[in-house]
């Protein structure tokens, strides 16, 4: 059994790599860039260029993928010459500092021509002092210095450049300076070390908002799963047992009828009927700061939409599997052993009939989690699906990648659970 799981985990990693590269390439290929989406439609070309540079989005594709995967702090610390450290402040914001041999933490700011260092001593005291001796000589009389700035970025400051530019110095007003930041590397640990990066759209670490969205989607998915699966399986069994008789026909038609209405139409019509005409239920799933389960009335409509669509599909699979099992020789043996109908069905037929649908149902968990994008959009339900849709529309690559990875883990994970369930249910495979 161990080998089996190990093999699946290796496959999981391979699939994750494929998907991550795939998402990177497709997003790169599609037109539009993040700067326009973030800075708004009326942004000027130079602004766009400087913004992309500040976010390190002007690097070549493969470099960006590498930075996303393995992070950038190891490159930056090589350039700065000091190890880097990440702290999270009491208000939950992350701060990157360079670590001095003395143990104190240091960050820099360029004020006009001189370098101002902000030092955080181990006892928490923060000191600000000039630190011009760190400038290093570059070619042609230029001086440069790689350091960490206040906005969690490794920055290359240069002095004595040919082009002059107006720089506003606090307290002194405008002063013309021949230098400034020319290259940025946003600091992050990289996906492999648990930091999927900053969401370009919300500016906050992806992990935090993703977790909330995942929790919401899990709530929606699990409630729908728990409600619809048993009903669908039971109805499937009944339909299978009464094959070709009126009950079977009715159940099949009803199941199918629900699963064919487009989700968005179904959602909106449900809002129309229940929220507006009958006024029984709230029209949207607006949770505010409390978790979905605190407002059950808001869950009813999305879960209903989701379950009706699922019902049809699972019912059909279970029915087909039940019909096939009832035609099998060992059921004939059971009947010819004189066993009553209910014993034949529940002891012999049921377990065999459930093997096939169980595996298919597990595959659907993945669809439930991410595929319900439309249901979430129609109800304004802030789940993982909507998060992925918005990031894709917005080309917020960090969020999209992290979301896609979760989807892969869930997909392959559920497949693994499906396989384990299959081997557990089917002794023919368990005892080779």
């Amino acid at each position: 059994m161990g080998w089996f799981i190990l093999r699946r985990l290796v496959l999981l990693l391979v699939t994750m790599v494929i998907v991550s590269v795939g998402v990177f390439i497709i997003t790169e290929a599609s037109p539009g860039n993040v700067a326009r989406n973030l800075l708004g439609s009326f942004v000027t070309p130079e602004q766009e260029a400087s913004f992309l540079n500040q976010l390190g989005l002007d690097e070549p594709l493969w470099k960006r993928y590498l930075y996303w995967l393995a992070g950038t702090d190891w490159i930056a610390s090589k350039r700065i010459g000091l190890p880097l450290e990440r702290l999270t402040t009491e208000r939950g914001f992350t701060e990157w500092w360079a670590k001095l041999p003395s143990g104190d933490l240091i960050r820099w700011q360029l004020k006009g021509e001189d370098l101002v260092a902000v030092i955080k001593h181990q006892d928490g005291r923060i000191e600000e002092k000039l630190d011009n001796r760190r400038w290093r000589k570059g070619g042609g009389g230029r001086e440069f210095f790689w350091g960490v700035d206040l906005h969690n970025r490794a920055v290359l400051w240069q002095k004595g450049l040919s082009k002059k530019q107006w720089v506003y110095v606090h307290g002194k007003g405008w002063v013309e300076a021949a230098g400034g930041a020319t290259d940025y590397i946003p600091l992050k640990k990289g996906f492999l070390r648990g930091d999927p990066g900053i969401s370009l759209r919300t500016g906050r670490p992806v992990a935090k908002s993703l977790f909330v969205r995942l929790r919401n989607s899990l709530v929606l998915a699990s409630i729908s799963f728990v409600i619809v699966m048993p009903i669908a399986l039971a109805l499937g069994i009944v339909a299978g047992l009464t094959a070709e008789r009126p009950i079977d026909r009715a159940l099949s038609i009803v199941g199918m009828a629900f699963s064919v209405i487009p989700e968005f139409a179904m959602g909106i019509f449900l809002i129309l009927i229940f929220a507006l005409w009958l006024r029984w239920l709230p029209g949207a799933s607006v949770f505010g700061n409390h978790a979905p389960w605190e407002r059950p009335d808001m869950l009813i409509l999305p879960v209903l939409t989701l379950s009706l669509i699922e019902l049809g599909y699972v019912l059909r699979i279970t029915r087909a599997s039940m019909v096939e099992v009832m035609r099998s020789p060992y059921i004939r043996t059971a009947y010819l052993k004189g066993l009553p109908h209910h014993v034949v069905v529940f002891k012999h037929a049921l377990r065999n009939a459930l093997i096939a649908p169980i595996t298919v149902i597990m595959l659907h968990v993945n669809w439930l989690l991410g595929g319900v994008v439309i249901v979430e959009v129609v109800f304004g339900y802030s789940g993982l699906g909507k998060y992925l849709l918005d990031s894709a529309m917005y080309k917020d690559i960090n969020a999209l990648e992290a979301g896609a990875m979760i989807m892969v883990v869930v997909a392959v994970g559920t497949q693994l659970v499906a396989d384990i369930a299959y081997t557990f249910l089917n002794p023919r495979i368990r005892f080779k």
Binding site: W3, F4, L6, R7, S328, P329, Y330, R332, T333, A334, Y335, L336, K337, G338, L339, P340, H341, V343, K347, H348, R351, N352, L425, N426, P427, R428, F431, K432
Partner: protein
């Protein structure tokens, strides 16, 4: 009412029909027979004759679209047709129980054997769990099941075919039923395992006194097991009588035809010829009620046979037949008929002793690797150090039970399996590559005929196209004459012109095999490998195909390698025979020498297990213990030593068999036996099969 002497089962003109897409079809019409206590009735007939339908009609399990249209079935005096479900359930599994053809499918794959056995008792006789468990263990011992406690905990797929059948029989016998219906119980088993199961049936019959309905298509098996026999054809009983009457002087042309087309163990292709029954079974919708059902295939047809339908009439005490001329055939006993016949030999056999064999296999080894789990690889030694030669124009028969490696050997020759070690020479050229890499002219020379008629032809293309494909590929004829050649090939295999446009689904099993043969002939190969071409066919059709193969051999001088598990068929068609066991050849030599002493102990056991459809032939009983070992870790030394009944003849109980593999003992030039037993002791053994001196 003393039920002992009255009948356990009376069936009065039972008719059953099925609902198909084209409406209701009559599968069985006015079948009548009765069965007394302790008696075994054998129902024999070819596939599609309705024998299983009768069985299922008795237990009223005809499925959603089957229905008993008329007639009555009385079981111990009580009418079964129209019984309520509750009463039916009380009978099923308790007073009437059933055993099926494929035991593996008949057992529920996800329940332990113990549960499936005990539920019969706990339900019918509301035994407690403990009581039921004891009873099951006892019954498993009765059916000679080794280590019954372990078997109770196992799942069906963990048992061998023979063991599974024993479990099903045990399950049927748990409630000591009055009637046991067995539907082809041994068809799917190997001949030695079949023999053991048939012994068990006899044992149970004498011990429990259960009356049995034994359904099979194998005449040998029915001869051995039954007291009385019904012969069914196209849904009707054509002859009924005591087993001796049926086999000694069969009265119905169909019964006589059947008996004549079954190769007897003693017959070879040079001594007699098989007489196939021509034509094919009329499909249910074309069976005219007003004429004899067998009329269009009967060699002795008269007008009256076509004008009105003969009904079953008694021509001898206890011997009924459905034929107007029944009495006439009564007194021409079949055997005299056969011996009196001028021996019609299928032309001079093309097989002669030639110095250069067409096919020469030396020390061939073919291993599979089976991946149980990643990293853990098991080597399966399918073919292990096999050397054999085939002379041009001859037929080499390879016989052995399933898993002995005969198919793998064929695949190695034709190039579908990679050879691990050893050489294959064909027309003096070494075949060392897979078929894909062989030059076209070598590929042309070797063709293959396959076992299962349903999967030998591609269902998506008409017959003509499939025959033309090899013609075009090997360019045996110029492109424009391809169609003409295809029609010639069809004629060569006795199929009409219009089969050219037919699709495989419109052909019967026999017809499909013929097209398979035509396809193999297309490239005019010098060697045709036949992988059990007839074992899936009905007896009557089997004879036609065997004759066709021999006719081709005579006409084109083709060499055959013919593998099968039925010794009488191999005996009939082969010039040379090799007996294989667990990937090795035990004995090889001219056909006649193999079927008479000195035998290799395994050959002897095989011969004694073959059911012979002739009550007058006496057969010595030699049974092998234990199961066939797995090819993954074959026994050391002589592979047969774990089951060899003759080991005790050797000094110190045959220890040598365990340590050393036997060398090759050659008896007069081309008869070899691989056994440590000296030839003299083997010669002293009396023959397995002898004519009963009257």
């Amino acid at each position: 009412m003393n039920i002992k002497n009255s009948k356990v089962l009376q069936v009065e003109n039972l008719s059953v029909s099925y609902k198909t897409r084209k409406g209701w079809i009559q599968a069985v019409q006015n079948v009548s027979f009765d069965l007394s206590y302790g008696e075994t009735l054998g129902i024999v007939g070819e596939s599609g004759c309705g024998k299983s339908t009768v069985a299922f009609a008795i237990v009223n399990f005809l499925g959603p679209n089957g229905k008993v249209t008329s007639g009555s079935i009385k079981f111990e005096g009580k009418e079964l047709v129209g019984l309520s479900r509750r009463e039916l359930n009380r009978l099923r599994g308790n007073r009437i129980s059933m055993v099926y053809q494929d035991p593996m499918a008949a057992l529920n794959p996800i329940l332990r054997i113990g549960d499936q056995l005990m539920e019969v008792l706990t339900y019918h006789r509301n035994f407690s769990k403990r009581e039921a468990y004891e009873h099951c263990i006892d019954m498993l011992k009765r059916v000679h099941m080794p280590d019954p406690e372990a078997v109770m905990k196992r799942y069906p797929h963990q048992l061998s075919g023979g063991q599974q059948q024993r479990v099903v029989i045990a399950m049927a016998m748990l409630n000591n039923p009055a009637l046991l219906i067995m539907d082809e119980p041994t068809t799917a088993l190997d001949v030695t395992v079949e023999a053991a199961v048939l012994d068990l049936v006899e044992e149970l019959k004498s011990e429990f006194g259960t009356s049995i309905i034994f359904i099979t298509h194998n005449l040998g098996v029915v001869a051995r097991v039954s007291d009385s026999i019904c012969v069914m054809y196209a849904g009707e009983i054509v002859e009924r009588g005591h087993v001796g009457q049926i086999f000694e002087n069969p009265a119905h042309p169909y019964t006589r035809g059947l008996l004549r087309c079954v190769p007897l163990l003693g017959t070879s292709k040079s001594s007699t010829v098989l007489r196939p029954i021509r034509g094919r079974v009329p499909p249910p919708e074309r069976r005219l009620p007003s004429m004899c059902i067998f009329a269009d295939r009967c060699g002795h047809r008269e007008n009256q046979c076509v004008d009105k339908k003969p009904n079953l009439r008694e021509i001898d005490p206890g011997h009924e037949v459905r034929c107007f001329k029944g009495e006439r055939f009564l007194y021409i006993s079949l055997r005299d008929r056969r011996s009196a016949q001028k021996v019609r030999r299928i032309g001079s056999s093309t097989c002669a002793e030639k110095e250069k064999p067409l096919l020469d296999i030396r020390k061939l080894r073919v291993y599979y690797t089976q991946k149980m789990r990643i990293g853990v690889k098991h080597i399966v030694r399918a073919v292990d150090n096999v050397s054999v030669q085939v002379n041009p124009g001859c037929t080499l028969g390879i016989v052995g039970e399933s898993g002995c490696g005969k198919s793998t050997l064929l695949k190695a020759i034709i190039g579908l399996e990679k050879v691990r070690d050893g050489k294959i020479f064909f027309q003096d050229k070494e075949l060392d590559t897979l078929v894909v890499h062989r030059p076209l002219d070598i590929i042309k020379e070797i063709q293959m005929v396959f076992q299962n008629p349903d999967s030998t032809l591609n269902p998506a293309y008409p017959v003509g196209k499939q025959i033309e494909r090899p013609l075009k590929r090997f360019k045996t004829v110029p492109r424009k004459r391809v169609r003409e050649e295809a029609l010639r090939l069809l004629r060569a295999v006795r199929l009409g012109q219009d089969y050219y446009h037919r699709y495989p689904r419109q052909l019967s099993g026999g017809e499909k095999q013929r097209v398979g043969i035509a396809r193999a002939l297309a490239s005019r190969p010098s060697l045709i490998l036949c992988d059990e071409p007839v074992s899936a066919l009905d007896v009557s059709v089997q004879a036609a195909v065997l004759n066709l193969l021999m006719e081709i051999q005579n006409k084109f001088g083709t060499t055959f390698v013919f593998i099968a598990h039925d010794l009488s068929v191999v005996r009939y068609i082969s010039d040379y025979v090799a007996v294989m066991y667990l990937g090795q050849i035990m004995e090889a030599g001219p056909t006649q020498r193999i079927y008479e002493p000195p035998y290799h102990p395994y050959t002897e056991a095989l011969l004694s297990a073959v059911p012979i459809p002739d009550p007058d032939i006496s057969q010595r009983r030699i049974r092998l213990e234990g199961n066939v070992p797995s090819a993954m870790n074959p026994p050391s030394g002589c592979r047969f030593h774990t089951r060899c009944p003759r080991r005790h003849l050797l000094p110190d109980g045959g220890k040598i068999c365990q340590e050393k593999a036997p060398e090759e003992h050659v008896i007069d030039k081309n008869h070899t036996i691989y056994c440590h037993l000296p030839i003299e002791t083997l010669l002293e053994l009396d023959p397995v099969v002898e004519m009963k001196t009257s």
